[in-house]
Amino acid sequence: MEIHEIISPLVILFIIAIFIVIKPKKDIREPAVENKIKLLPYWFKYIGMIVAVIGFVLNFVVDINYPNIEREYLIFTMVFGLLIFALSSEKSEDELLKQIRANSIFSAFFIGILIHLILLFLNHWIGGPIKEYSSIYVIGWMLGVYIGTFYSAKKRLKTLNSMDY
């Protein structure tokens, strides 16, 4: 086992421990389960979109023209953009959207894991190395499925509501 494999989990545990220590004590009368999702302001959506598109486009450009540059960095840029996009609020964020968000996160989490497992299995089956798939791909899948489910559910609701029957 290499040294960084031991140190990084320890660092994470240390950070979590600090958070547990400095976490303010909650009033016992406050509701334990609250719908308190804090999101980034609306305009962060555009920043996220731009960052993700830059990462996505460069991914193809670099692949063709400069094969010696690490692609992982560009995938990282893309996933980071998607993360900002996913964490920014809508123009009118209310309880209905929060509900749709929660549902989408639930499906994205499990569908993301499922897609990843299937890909790992297929890769292993055709003889590729399992280590080739880094965790950034799982995160990418999850964010992609989340954004897809959220916007399609929102659009579907809008279409259904606009229909008269």
């Binding site: 009118s92 309880e95 209905l96 959207l97 609701l157 509501n161």
Partner: protein, 66 residues
């Protein structure tokens, strides 16, 4: 669950947009509640009750499926 929000809205002569603004949600939410696609939270139901000046039971009621 079924509701008569559309009727209550008509009594007060409010559009979906106006009702949405008064209780601080989007028009899509009002539309979804009216068409029974979304069950609002208690807080939202009570806000409507205050606006319509009626108990919640008067415009929300259970159906046999609930």
């Amino acid at each position: 669950m079924k509701n008569t929000i559309k009727v209550e809205r008509a009594i007060l002569d409010l559009t979906q947009e106006e009702l949405a603004q008064k209780i601080g949600v989007s028009r899509q939410t009002i539309s979804s509640i009216e068409k029974n696609r979304y069950v609002p939270s208690t807080v939202l139901a009570l806000k409507m009750s205050k606006l319509f000046n009626k108990p919640v039971n008067d415009f929300f009621s259970l159906t046999t499926e609930d």
